[in-house]
């Protein structure tokens, strides 16, 4: 009797990782999924924070696992991932994205999981030439080597163009039955998805990590600059995903909700920050991050009033609440748009 081989698949929720797992499943391999939560994932959080009319708020990694009929294990790697973001040995991409170190880290964690759970090999949805940093012919061996996975790392979507790995050599996988993708075009993946009956999947390529986003990267660098150190906690990087960030003075910034979902999210931080909410008009919830003087607080209130429905009123009343629950009413004139320099927008 032949042993049923077991593979652990990195499942991002996107198209490539879904297809990679599917083509291996179809060869009779037992597959389970791993999804790593770094804190920078676009998946899940922004869907949760932002109010959407009628839109599905699904987690795509879970949705993919259900479509494939496999288990999914979501792993919290927020603390361990810090070193990847702060000290990437291969540097950053166009923004603050340490893609090569990130992939090596994730495959390394998957390799450890594989050993702990007596699985045989690892699957990723990587495609040669798809990404400028981590998915190149010359960097793929780096990931296999630095993760420790070596030839137990199978990239099913482009394995035919790579050196044979253990699953191929041992006959666990028939490489001739695998697709052979390469380059940045998405058309072959979309065609394969259609042929496999997948008519719905997350928008492919590139959008899964906030660190690839220039606006988000700017906010992260601003945070480090204002604090004088390169470090973060989960709440820090979560708040960078939410609201307008305006820094009128080097020592404080104001985070202003853009819609009800963000306001609700920001209200959850009222016990950690001074918060401001208009009371005379409908308007956003805002947090003040940093040591603001009474004059600074007046300016913050003027900014919040500017984004309320009282923006054209002479005076707007706001409630200021301290982290220990003390409240005070402020009455301010909304700041004029021309008095908000573009440099204040982080």
């Amino acid at each position: 009797m032949t042993t049923k081989r077991k593979a652990v698949a990195l499942i991002s929720g996107g198209l490539d990782s879904m297809l990679a797992a599917k083509v291996v499943l179809d060869q009779g391999v037992h597959v389970e999924g791993l999804n790593f939560f770094t804190g920078f994932c676009v998946e899940g959080h922004t869907h949760a924070i932002r109010k959407k009319k009628g839109g599905a708020r699904r987690n795509n990694a879970l949705w993919v696992a259900e479509r494939l009929g496999i288990k999914l294990h979501i792993i919290d790697v927020v603390q361990d991932y810090k070193n990847v973001v702060l000290n990437p040995s291969h540097g950053y991409g166009a923004n603050m994205n340490p893609c090569l170190d990130c992939k090596g880290f994730m495959v390394g964690r998957a390799y450890q999981w594989m050993l702990d759970n007596e699985f045989d090999f690892i699957i990723t949805g990587e495609v040669i030439g798809q990404r400028p940093m981590s998915q190149r012919r010359d960097t793929m061996p780096v990931i296999a080597r630095e993760s420790g996975a070596f030839d137990r790392l199978l990239r099913p979507l482009c394995a035919r163009a790579l050196h044979p790995t253990l699953p191929q050599r041992e006959g666990w996988i028939d490489v001739a039955k695998l697709p052979s993708f390469g380059g940045r075009s998405r058309k072959p993946q979309i065609a394969l998805a259609e042929s496999l009956g997948f008519d719905d999947y997350a928008q492919p390529a590139g959008g899964c990590c906030f660190l690839t986003n220039s606006a988000y990267s700017s906010k992260l660098q601003d945070l480090w600059s204002a604090r004088g150190e390169r470090d973060y906690e989960l709440d820090d990087i979560m708040l960078l995903k939410v609201g307008r960030h305006l820094r009128p003075r080097p020592h404080f910034k104001v985070i202003i909700g853009r819609e009800e979902g963000e306001n609700r999210f920001l209200r959850g931080y009222r016990h950690e920050f001074v918060s401001l909410s208009p009371t005379s008009h409908r308007g956003p919830t805002a947090l003040v991050d940093g040591g603001a003087s009474p004059d600074d607080m007046e300016l913050a209130a003027q900014l919040v009033a500017r984004y309320s429905q009282g923006r054209d009123a002479e005076r707007v009343a706001l409630e200021m609440t301290t982290p220990d629950g003390e409240t005070r009413e402020l009455h301010v004139s909304p700041i004029a748009p021309d008095d908000v320099p573009v440099e204040w927008h982080v």
């Binding site: 389970e32 999804n35 939560f37 994932c41 998946e43 899940g44 959080h45 869907h47 949760a48 924070i49 599905a56 708020r57 699904r58 987690n59 990694a61 879970l62 949705w63 696992a65 259900e66 009929g69 496999i70 288990k71 999914l72 294990h73 979501i74 792993i75 919290d76 702990d116 759970n117 007596e118 979560m238 999210f265 959850g268």
Partner: protein, 82 residues
């Protein structure tokens, strides 16, 4: 069989799912876990996670500010989880 509670209010997905997953690992088949959360995304994610991992959803109570899902731990655990 016993009943357990998990409070993951204020956490955003996927943290409610991760906390649920980690708690269920330490429960026995047939145990029930009441998970209370504020992230509306968890209304979809926790039941999906439970289904694909072999657990049963007993009830879902959706509220304006917070919601609760009751899970019965199933026998669908992989062997390495037992």
């Amino acid at each position: 069989m016993s009943n357990h509670e998990l409070d993951v209010r204020r956490l955003l997905c996927p943290m409610p799912v991760i906390r649920t997953q980690d708690r269920v690992k330490h429960l026995a088949d047939g145990d029930r876990l009441d998970v209370t959360f504020t992230d509306p995304g968890a209304l979809h994610d926790i039941p999906t996670w439970a289904r694909i991992n072999g657990h049963r959803i007993v009830s879902i109570a959706e509220g304006d500010e917070e919601s609760t899902v009751v899970i019965e731990v199933g026998t669908g655990k992989a062997s390495y989880e037992r």
